[in-house]
């Protein structure tokens, strides 16, 4: 983890609590920040073993393919990869909980199509080809080459958009890969972008 960004986040959360305490005095601050018991019971939590078992929507094999897709689309840089943040586990949860059966079918189909085209082009499943080959295959998918068609491209676009949503709505994605303001303290209409270097991750609506 990148400590600089992590401390920036904790600062902003502390700032929220400190600000509230200073301003509100006697208010029970814990009540503002405690997790709703019901929601937390069903809440998606990142897991280390998502690829070791069947998911809600995806089979174990599909989870492994999805893991590698996450690792290749958003690889580790100065921030963790999507696979390290269990975005594949998030995708399995989110598609089951919030998306239509049609979208679920699209996601399953494209994951399996990627594996089939890996076998067709590299004579190996997607999970055993090199990272460079995986990247080349997904780049080909987005440009309808190596046997991928327009329908495949559209289905991958849907899945990738949700993958990226999953990444930037994790705590790490929102607060380290992006700049986070829990309590901005007011609105300034003009600040220098070069001093920030990154977009805001604290958006009112996702």
């Amino acid at each position: 983890m990148n400590n600089k960004h992590e401390s920036a986040y904790h600062n902003s959360k502390r700032q929220f609590l400190r600000g509230l305490t200073a301003i509100m005095g006697s208010v029970a601050i814990s009540q503002l920040t405690s997790t709703n018991a019901l929601a937390s019971a069903f809440k998606y939590e990142a897991q280390a073993n998502s690829t070791l078992k069947n998911g809600k929507l995806f089979s174990q094999l599909e989870m492994q393919i999805l893991h590698d897709i996450c690792a290749v689309v958003l690889p580790a840089t100065d921030t963790p990869s999507a696979a390290e943040l269990d975005v594949h586990g998030f995708l399995d949860h989110q598609l089951s909980a919030c998306h239509s059966q049609e979208q679920q079918a699209h996601a399953k189909n494209i994951v399996n199509t990627i594996n089939q085209q890996s076998n067709a082009n590299f004579s190996q499943p997607f999970t055993t080809i090199t990272a460079d080959q995986q990247t080349a295959l997904l780049v080909a998918l987005e440009s309808q080459k190596l046997g991928f068609n327009l329908e495949n491209k559209e289905q991958f676009k849907e899945l990738k958009a949700l993958l990226i949503f999953g990444y930037f709505t994790t705590e790490v994605g929102a607060t380290q890969a992006l700049n986070y303001q829990a309590v901005p303290g007011g609105f300034k209409g003009s600040v220098s972008y070069s001093s920030l270097k990154k977009a805001w991750g604290s958006l009112a609506y996702y």
Binding site: L32, A174, K188
Partner: protein, 577 residues
């Protein structure tokens, strides 16, 4: 909050009953209590306590079960209609009504999206906080073009009351001195971003009759002593208002009117009390009280008072009145005119244009501004109308820099793409129409003949449609917005209309079903929101409107309410009520 505030059974005769606790009900209760009247506020939903019950405030998206999206099954079961509201998500759903428990029907071939907020505070917790006075153009418009009946009051009648509420509420805005949009008593406006400021100035040169201003919103940009004494502090620009705000930085019943009312010692609140009907005494021609069904256990109880203020939202108030049947009023209480339920209006928010602003790469903003740019209606009198339709619209600005939410749909795989996703990219700006809807007799709500809800109250049956006027207005608004953006040098400008996809209701500005008027034969209320038929019955929410106007209505709900209270109390003191 004081436990003694809440009551259940009571035989006491109160001085006043207020039905509803939203923007209008909160103001009615505050003003009645401050004038010394023992007041009972009746709320159909649960208690929501300021701060304590804002359970999702201050949480990041990763702290929600589905990253702020709402579970499919839950939506399907409980929120099929509410989900259409822009502010509905996992962190706000507790402040929206449960569609399963709140059924209504619509006439075949029509649709209406009724957004509900049945809890203490009502929609004041989840409103968009835009606050504008109506001008005389608005009050005069029906008379000027002959559609609908004339409003029985003018701007000068409300001016003092607008000021009265604004000082308490706290409205951020700039003194713009526009004839079509009177200034309020303001706190400082929110800041412009540089691209918006330049667009505003370009448009001012190109279209001097179409000024663009900073949206006026009920946020404490610089709280006064009065606001601080209410326990409210400066807006932190989180723009997560609909989760509830412990800073009390935007106006809600909880942050503003309720504490003031409670402070007098004259307020009691009956929560979980679904008003079934008003109890009418034919001998005295007065409303004696209300019949209530318990929200939870469905038992019946009654509350009594000398005067009754119905502030249950436009459709809520109308439903109660239609269901209050007596020998004298077989079609609903105070409905001798027969217009109760007719002339339903909303605003039409179904057109606009967006584009890209080139340059400004090093310009950014800090914080999330809870308001937008605003171009007031520039067709505010008949001489300014377009040829093929009547009346006009305002345009609300949308702005920002594009980010990963846009770039995630672009092609890219790997580290360079990941880096690109973390960056703010081009600026975008848009203008989105907020149009007037004409008052039409055919747009009507009535009680369903057979269907009832779980409290045994007849369901509302809604028959409401856009007319050609609204369709033509949206077509023009899309073209006009596009033309202005192109002339202001925006690129990749695209316009849209969505009136064929969205039924009325989603502006959540429903008004008009118990309208005011000079003539008791064609209106329900007089100029003081008092029913023509029954002196001690007042209706002060949006149902009283004669036209939808173009400006957002909430500030006018407040001003009408406090004026009505002032009048009612004087009438009571003079023994005419």
């Amino acid at each position: 909050m004081d436990k003694d505030l809440y009551i259940n059974e009571s035989n006491e005769e109160y001085d006043a009953l207020v039905i509803g606790s939203g923007i209008s009900g909160g103001w009615a209760a505050k003003e009645l209590c401050e004038r010394g009247l023992k007041t009972l506020m009746i709320e159909r939903g649960r208690v929501v306590e300021h701060q304590k019950d804002y359970i999702d405030e201050g949480k990041g998206p990763w702290e929600f079960a589905n990253r702020m999206k709402v579970d499919n099954l839950l939506v399907e079961e409980q929120y099929k209609i509410q989900k259409k509201c822009y502010a509905f998500h996992d962190a706000t759903k507790q402040f929206f009504g449960n569609d399963k428990d709140l059924p209504y029907s619509t006439e075949k071939g029509t649709d209406f999206s009724w957004i509900r907020a049945n809890q203490l505070g009502g929609k004041s917790l989840i409103w968009h906080r835009q606050s504008y006075r109506f001008s005389d153009n608005e009050f005069n418009i029906n008379k000027a073009d002959g559609i609908g009946i004339d409003w029985p009051l003018r701007y000068k009648d409300l001016e003092h009351w607008y000021s009265h509420v604004e000082k308490h509420v706290g409205i951020s805005g700039n003194y713009d001195n526009l004839p079509q949009l009177p200034d309020s008593v303001f706190l400082p406006p929110f800041e412009w971003t540089k691209p918006e400021f330049d667009i505003k100035n370009k448009l001012a040169k190109l279209y001097p009759q179409r000024p663009m201003i900073m949206g006026r919103a009920a946020h404490l940009t610089k709280p006064s002593e009065l606001h601080i004494s209410q326990g409210r502090v400066q807006c932190q620009s989180r723009n997560e208002c609909q989760k509830g705000c412990s800073f009390g930085a935007y106006f809600s019943t909880q942050s503003s009117t309720l504490p003031a009312a409670a402070k007098t010692g004259n307020l009691h609140i009956a929560p979980n009390s679904v008003v079934h009907s008003l109890i009418y005494d034919e001998k005295t021609n007065r409303v004696k009280g209300v019949k209530v069904i318990d929200n939870d256990n469905l038992t019946t109880r009654e509350y009594f008072a000398k005067v009754v203020f119905v502030c249950a939202s436009t459709l809520g108030s109308t439903q109660i009145m239609l269901n209050s049947i007596s020998k004298k009023f077989p079609q609903g209480i105070a409905n001798s005119s027969g217009v109760l339920g007719h002339y339903l209006m909303d605003h039409v928010y179904n057109a606009g244009a967006t584009g890209i602003v080139e340059g400004y790469e090093d310009e950014y903003y800090s914080g999330r501004r809870p308001t937008e740019a605003y171009m007031p209606n520039f067709q505010f009198k008949p001489s300014l109308y377009k040829k093929n339709y009547k009346r006009g619209y305002a345009l609300a600005g949308g702005f920002g820099r594009k980010d990963w939410r846009d770039a995630r749909f672009e092609t890219g795989i790997g580290a360079a793409y990941k880096q690109q996703l973390t960056q703010a990219s081009s600026w975008h700006f848009g203008l989105h129409a907020q149009g007037e809807m004409l008052p039409r007799f055919e747009n009507q709500v009535s009680l369903h003949k057979t269907k009832k809800d779980k409290w045994g109250i007849p369901q509302l049956h809604i028959n409401c449609q856009w007319s050609d006027n609204e369709v033509l207005m949206m077509e023009d608004a899309a073209q006009t917005a596009k033309e202005m953006l192109l002339k202001a040098d925006l690129k990749d400008v695209k316009s849209y209309t969505s009136i064929d996809k969205n039924a009325p209701g989603l502006a959540i500005h429903e008004v008009g079903t118990a309208r005011m008027g000079k003539d008791p034969a064609e209106s329900v209320l007089n100029a003081y929101n008092q029913t023509h038929d029954i002196p001690n019955l007042f209706v002060t929410d949006g149902s009283s409107f004669c036209s939808s106007g173009v400006a957002n209505p909430s500030l006018t709900f407040m001003a009408l309410t406090v004026r009505a209270v002032d009048y009612a109390v004087k009438e009571m003191n003079n023994k005419r009520i």
